[in-house]
Symmetry: C2
Subunit: 432 residues, 2 copies
């Protein structure tokens, strides 16, 4: 083959996002075969699927063989049903059995992240035997050989010994006597977000997954947890911005799918915001008496929205990190009351002063107008802060995702009530 026609991995990696599906396959085929292996492994699951679909069967089989069982499972879970069956057929029988067992777990569960390939030893082995035995297992494609899991004949997990434990022990001691038995484990159906918290709380590098009977099914390693943490944060981000989770890189989501994920909340928010028309219409005669009231409307309602969005993002993130739990709600309430009051006073005073100093030619005494705006800003900011901080907790209490208390949702709720606050204050101070 003419080496001139070969492409370097770096060139392809650079060009990748700009290529369409056909060009990607063509480019991929121009890689040296060794480069092609490495490049395939670094692609996202979606890109791997796309490539696999386009490659001839022999190549497809070869590429699949590069992947670990948990990665193949991910791939299959994202494939369309007809592709899935074809891909499963390409697997060697032992791998097929492992993958089919893993497919039983949901993608977002601990079981969906685990690899069934872990190093196992018996409790009655000596340390020297265990090290020798692990040395033999090093040839198999295990997830890690750093931890040796001690299982009984029924595959029940009795304990764990790290390499370091084995190396530090006398060679003639029994594994049973040197293993650690206070092992943190999880069930296969544990949610991946809860699993990530378990890793963080115990500073784990690997965690065994067991079934109800204590039989070990696989291990999850911390490198997979990094992806989980990114993924969960991304979902929360998108929800807070008022989008349904995209579940794919921004530039790779098709137009129609992107539209659907964004339109849903926008419609709900728009319909919610239409309530403001009704409220405003109710005050139309007030407005006719004093058109100048309308001048301060955008300022007032945006203050409520901003402070509400600030409070809700803080509380949602704190809940996602486990820093705030449901039972902490009174502590959150007290903090946010204080924050809302002080921020409200601060902004209220700024508003009052600015309007007073700016002057104007209204019929009403300027100080009354300034006081109306100042007091309304205080009320709206306080109210926004309370709604923003309590809504995520209420949603969790009702069994929903707190991240649905997005900044725009809070703003919409606060807008409607904010108008009422403003016109009520105006009625008291200005229009008798």
């Amino acid at each position: 083959m003419d080496s001139e026609t070969n492409l370097s991995v770096t060139e392809l990696r650079e060009a990748w996002p700009l290529l369409d599906a056909g060009e990607r396959v063509d480019g991929y085929r121009l890689l040296e075969s060794e480069d092609a292996e490495g490049f395939f492994e670094e692609l996202s699951t979606q890109d791997q699927l796309e490539l696999l679909r386009a490659l001839p069967e022999a190549q497809r089989r070869m590429r699949l063989r590069l992947l670990a069982p948990d990665d193949i499972t991910d791939l299959l879970q994202q494939a369309v049903p007809e592709d899935r069956a074809k891909l499963v057929d390409l697997l060697e029988p032992p791998m097929r059995r492992e993958v089919v067992a893993l497919l039983a777990y949901a993608e977002d569960d601990a079981g969906g992240l685990m690899s069934p390939r872990f190093a196992r030893v018996r409790p009655e082995m000596t340390v020297d035997e265990a090290i020798l035995y692990l040395r033999r297992q090093a040839y198999e494609r295990l997830e890690t050989i750093y931890y040796a899991y001690v299982l009984d004949r029924e595959q029940r997990l009795l304990g764990v010994a790290s390499f370091r434990d084995l190396f530090q022990a006398r060679g003639a001691s029994l594994v049973r006597d040197i293993m650690r038995t206070d092992v943190v484990t999880a069930l296969g159906d544990m949610d991946q977000e809860a699993l990530a918290k378990l890793f963080a709380a115990h500073d784990l590098v690997a965690l065994p997954i067991v079934d109800e009977a204590g039989r070990m099914k696989g291990i999850v390693t911390v490198d997979d947890i990094v992806d989980v943490v990114q993924e969960e944060a991304t979902e929360d981000f998108q929800k807070i911005g008022g989008t349904v989770a995209l579940e794919a890189p921004y530039l790779e989501v098709g137009f129609f799918s992107m539209f659907k994920k964004r339109a849903g909340w926008m419609i709900i928010l728009f319909l919610g915001e239409m309530l403001t028309i009704r409220v405003m219409a109710g005050y139309e005669t007030r407005l006719e008496q004093m058109v100048m009231l309308a001048v301060f409307l955008p300022l007032i309602i945006s203050s409520g929205g901003n402070s509400g969005g600030q409070a809700s993002t803080l509380v949602i993130r704190a809940m996602a990190l486990g820093e705030v739990r449901l039972r902490d709600w009174t502590r959150v309430l007290v903090r946010e009351l204080a924050a809302g009051l002080s921020l409200g006073c601060l902004l209220g005073v700024i508003g009052l002063t600015a309007i007073y100093l700016r002057g104007g030619d209204a019929d009403e005494p300027l100080i009354r107008i300034a006081a109306t705006v100042g007091a309304s800003v205080l009320g709206v900011v306080l109210w926004g802060t309370l709604v923003g901080s309590m809504l995520p907790l209420l949603l969790r209490r009702a069994g929903f995702d707190p991240a649905s208390a997005s900044a725009p949702l809070v703003a919409t709720l606060v807008d409607v009530t904010g108008l009422m606050v403003y016109f009520t204050v105006a009625s008291v101070v200005l229009l008798r």
Copy 2:
């Protein structure tokens, strides 16, 4: 000691968030000494500092001895200067040297995350010698003994051999011949966010940190990267919500510090939003001609804020994940133009229809009012989407953090222009 007065770790862990500093120390002292060690290690750095400050010197020295050099460095970086000096004095001389070297790196850099305790072997050792040598190193408190780093006499990194590599090789081969030389490394001053991307791109478990001359300084392990990823996501969350990064758990930030971190952006946004007063005042005569225009104001401006916030969160997160880079700006622009137009049309039509069907007793023909609102919603949503998606890219271009393009900042920018769009459309359609 009366065992009745002992506290279990679980009890203390539960009560911890509700206790003040004094109660925490008292509670901590009631733990069995073995429990106390474990409990201390699982505390946050802030809590560890607080406890250390309250414990007598002998205990303080004991607790410090439990920690790895990178953790002690973290602790010192968060301590007030006078405590820092006292704590450094408590360290044993070898540990003190290590920690002082680590303190030279900024907390958010790769150097601030690394541990100087890694397993090292020489290139001219045989595999059997290397394994034996590692077995001896297992007694030292190394970060991991899974990877053996091959250094020359000048401490320059030549390659790496995992345990698995060593176990698979013949015992008589030389480390030099079996080591991998394509090692991914980083400099100590690499930003931790970039480091996390490096881990993700190469699926790394550990990464050696070197200086400009290629001398190995330490390793960073993937479990620290989990914390980095959480931390960076939290910062972005808080910025998007319009807060300066809290840098501590929500419930542990003091009132005044919380106020300062929230008030800054709120004041800027409020002052920005005061521009709407000027714009509104400019249209006051228009409003007097037709008070009904004010009725739709909240709906119009919130539509712009919502769509802008949605676009900016999507783009900010995609940029943080490296999915969107500066040079992708045209692709983002095209996508967001399409999204803004279609969302704008959808909401515009909903608005137009709802107002038309609802009816009213205005002097103007209803269809004109409905058309004004519909067209304004389209314009404002399109504009909001464009501002929201382009602002993060512009900020990055200018050297700022894209996450500063918070939803409330975008909303504020869009509010001012949104009013102009609305009144311009109204002038054309309604008021000739």
